[in-house]
């Protein structure tokens, strides 16, 4: 599988995504500079975390205008696998590739911590190797991860089972205490209508080695690998 990792000025988890793709998954991964609109025929596009353009305006608000984003939108709309993590999720939302909005954490502070995610759907290339109700231990690190959707959108997301993950505690209970940022209904990640675009705030790419805390995040990438092998996305 070929992977493109989009790098904006201010992106800082590009390295983590590339390391995961190349060293842990053994994929062919290339960095793509924001000014380039050539994704090099990538099968999977990752928008990594960071502070694109400093995020001094609104997170992701400037990045969506980058030339690379036109290519990403084209890729996503034609059904290409697209994964936005953290800042990447924020950019996908700003770019209109995913619905809703990401607000300031309800603590009004940056949060870096280990959290648990409960798998909400098996029906996506990102989660097909998991079972609904599985609990993944992954870290998060963000200041603006408070996912918001108005009631009608929320209903639509739920009806279409497009919520991929919710924050939960170690035992898998979806409780307010397990919600690190105030996200509506503990939502941690959502899928696009075509289910080929996933945006999530936590960092599965930082949970791919047991020695570094957890390898649960790797299950997302294993799913992608299986989906790719199966369908040839």
């Amino acid at each position: 599988m070929k992977v493109a990792v989009i790098i904006f000025p201010g992106t800082n988890r590009d390295h983590d995504a590339l390391y995961m793709a190349q060293n842990v998954m053994g994929w062919e991964a290339v960095p793509v500079w924001h000014e380039s609109s050539n994704l090099g025929g990538a099968d999977l596009v990752i928008l990594p975390g960071g502070f694109a353009y400093g995020d001094y305006l609104r997170t992701g608000a400037v990045a969506r205008f980058a030339p690379a984003m036109d290519a990403v939108a084209k890729h996503a709309k034609s059904g290409g696998l697209t994964l936005g993590i953290c800042n990447g999720f924020q950019i996908l939302v700003e770019a209109g590739l995913l619905p809703g909005a990401l607000l300031r954490n309800n603590s009004l502070q940056f949060r870096c911590d280990w959290t648990h995610l409960k798998v909400q759907t098996e029906n996506s290339p990102f989660t097909r190797e998991m079972a609904i109700g599985d609990v993944l231990r992954v870290p998060l690190a963000h200041g603006d991860g408070n996912y918001f959707a108005p009631p009608e959108l929320l209903k639509k997301l739920n009806d279409e089972r497009r919520v991929a993950f919710r924050y939960c505690d170690e035992q898998g209970r979806i409780t307010p205490a397990a919600n690190p940022n105030g996200s509506v209904e503990n939502i941690a990640g959502i899928l696009s209508e075509g289910r080929n675009v996933l945006g999530l705030m936590p960092h599965p790419e930082n949970a791919v080695e047991d020695l570094l805390g957890s390898a649960d995040g790797k299950r997302i990438f294993d799913s992608l690998a299986a989906a790719y092998a199966d369908v040839g996305w």
Binding site: T11, H15, D16, Q109, F110, N206
Partner: protein
Amino acid sequence: MAQDTENPKATTGAAPEAGAQAGRLPDTYIPDPPGPELLAKVGLTQAEYDNIVTILRRKPNLVELGIFGAMWSEHCSYKTSRRHLKKFPVTGKYVLQGPGENAGVMDLGGDYAVVFKIESHNHPSAVEPFQGAATGVGGIIRDIFAMGARPIALLNSLRFGNLTELAPVGGEEEHSEAPEEAGADAPAEAGAEEETPAGGQIDWNAAPAPYVVVVNWMTNARRPIFERQNVARQAVEVIRQIHDDAHSGMGGAEVLGYCVVPDSILLALRVHSAEGVNKEEADAAVAEVVAVIKAQLAPVAAEVLRRGEQLFETGYRSQRKFDSRELAEAIKRIEFTPVQRALVQQVKDWPFVSSVWRFGVCWPDSVPATRRVEKAGPLPYSPGVTAEQAARNRFLLGGVVSGIAHYGNCIGIPTVGGEVVFDPSYSGNPLVNAMCVGIVHKKNIIKAIADGPGNHALIVGAKTGRDGVQGATFASVELAADSGKDRPAVQVGDPFMEKLLLEATLEIQKLPGLVGVQDFGAAGLTCSSVEMAARAGTGMRLDLDAVPQRASDLSAYEMMLSESQERMMVVVDRGLEEPFLEVFRKWGLTAVPCGQVLDIGRLIVIHEGEEVAKLPNAPLAEGAPDYDRPFEAPAWYRDRKPATDGDIAAALQRILGGQEDAQEDAQEGGQEGGQEAGDVFGPLLRRLLEHPSIASKYPVYQQYDYLVRANTVQGPGLTDAAVVRVKETGQGLAVSCDGPGRHAYLDPRLGGARAVLESARNVLAVGARPLGITNNLNFGNPEKPDRMWQLVEAIEGMAEACRELETPVTGGNVSLYNESRLPGSEGTLAILPTPTVGMVGVLDKYQNLIRNCTEREGLELFVLGSTDGRLDGSLLLFDLGRLRAGELGAHNYVEFRACDRFLSSAGSEGAIVACHDISDGGLAVALTELCLSGCNVDVAPQSGGAFGVSGRSGRLTQDRYDSEEHNLLAALFGEEGHRWLVAVPAEKKGWLRTAAMHYSAPLIPLGRSGGGRIVIRSGEQTLIDAPAGELQSLHREGLAKLLA
């Protein structure tokens, strides 16, 4: 005085000279004479000004004066500390770059090297905490990537005043209330010993020849009796009495000198009588003296005996000669007054030491048991925190932490560790020491030189504005109540810009033609150009008109001294500039040639087409005055004494107040009734766990991204070192920051050494090998001799420890003038002297790291290392007990190295499951932190069973104090010595025992992990028994509760 710079007149521009700073007077204006206000503004003294005039052979203009002021500021020139900093060992087989560059570099073996440095941003953070801390982080990161290294970890060592109100205590003449029968029969104070007749040299050859008497007393448990303070003091008292009696004609023998060693009294006597005394008479007189001593000491000695103990003359010694080696051993273990030391020396060298008299001692069967409790000494002043200060401290903490988070998170470098410590002395003058660690391929190391005359110097990055003008000067004066108006002296950080600068710098390092890079830190453009040229022996011509400017109408003075952030100077070979400019364009950075390297050692500054400064480069860089400021130990230090039973009792009273009685009742109950006593020391442990300096710092570090870059193997949490992986080599770097202010206050030399040893302990605890250190010396006003003394002593202590551990100093930073006004008083309060050490260690394979806590049950727990069982300097006494006094014990480097070797060996064997250093809060806190699933341990096992050590060093409870309760307190909460708590699987016990004996590393068995409760016993007596979960949640929420 430097504080005069804070005079409001100076900045409001009321005085004509001061007004010139804002550019109203031309840059070339020559103030003649400059006047005290202007000199204070640029941070120079009249003598320094006169020196400048001598160097230049003319009077400097405004710009030149500003340049000199910045370069000769303490911050840039280390004019106060330079001569002392030279004492640090700076070389070693792994050192690739010592102090003097942007940062130090050490070899990791193979192709890679580690680059690291620590730097303070204390004063800016006191005034504007968010930006002050943010730009502190930004500055240290630039130092690292300016060397060509990829920054991979940040740490920070933070100090704040207390977050809640605290009343000051002590400092008055009145003695604190001593419990029980205090005072009734209190012995003379220790100081009286120096008045004894042992003052001079003893003339051993005089006739009649002096007698030496050795009285050996031990208990049947082989415990030296005179190590118990009351007994030793009583002995001194008795000897003084004999001396006085002899002089008043009542006795027959004169005391020439004496000393009391742990198991003996040594006495030099001359029979005081008419000439012609025969041997029998003399013997009788001496025997009488001994009888008096025996009779008077018997009751005192008896009352410190434990059940089943008896006193007797040590028979084993009477078989042997009293040799000097034994004496030397004894001497090491006790405190002597100088007079005693001199006497021991004399006795030791005395030719007929082998024929000393010995007297047996008989003891009456029963002795009256009277309980003596020593009176507490006067309580030294312990500063408090007003409600207003506490609120300010909370504001500062919040601001500093979010500033660090803002910068570090955005730029994408994980903040993996550090420390946060609270003490009233940091109120209004917080410490913000930031450390950055980077990795560089050896062939890509960039130097900060401006070589090759004719080459261009590019200024890269942000535009220059008015922010931070004279920050270096600002950092070199005391903070005043109205320092807030200096807010414009604090810079504003832009981590996004720095991220671009970082990536661009790492890209240009591979281009041909790169000569040197230096970041703009203190004194901005001035410092970078002067230092880069000085390192190459060249000069620099700066064209300020080319410098991109953020504000209009900047004067040359402001541009030279601006500390606008995120700027660098890059020197490139002539003709090869274009590829560099291309990289900078890619990253959206402005880069313009603004300087040219000269072949003469001059700094020439052009502004608006006019030459506004022309100065010789060498005196700017190296010609700063080298002050040998006077220093002197304060009186209290010279008279310091270890805490006594009385002091400890009074401190406990202050901690527990009314709770103490209940606690004692519980203890009594436990002893008498033989039932479960429960939680005797539980209340103290709970107080410690909740103390913000000990409690979990998660409310702080959860705001830092500690995971970015996917290298964090062990992140922030407990106090041990953080471990980051080096992907390039598969190694792990262990990094730790430690600044034991408490210990440095009580004894700056021992505290300075302790900073090094403590960080080494942390690095060793994770299984790494200490490599080298960077240090940040945070002290008060060096113009005050006692503060200067702290600095000098701490440096010597650190240097000593660095030599012993072979961990050289590769660079660092000095921050002086850390004092703040005491509320409602004219006086200033210096911070606790805080020598912060940032240590880097290496794990050959990051996978081999040892964790600092474990959930596993059934692990065998051991304490590695020994203690002398003193409570002095512990968080319990110093912070909770408010006892800012005491005496620390010397460091045992031999044992430290033995433990070091033991740990490395055990690490490669994989014998250790978890290891945690025993520091703040002592063993009890370490047990709570390490044993997530609880533990059941005995601090005074009947069977002993220590490995690698014999005798008292193999025990956790010492007999230091007369009160058994205090000895147990010391075992639980004492911090003396260098120790680790080690958890190993039962099957590795044999291996460990062999290793401990092989390395002579004290390894003392404690008990086992598991059971869900923290149970600490002393034999049959239960000292602490509480659910592990409850204690751990107190620990977790201690700081969070204060911030809520």
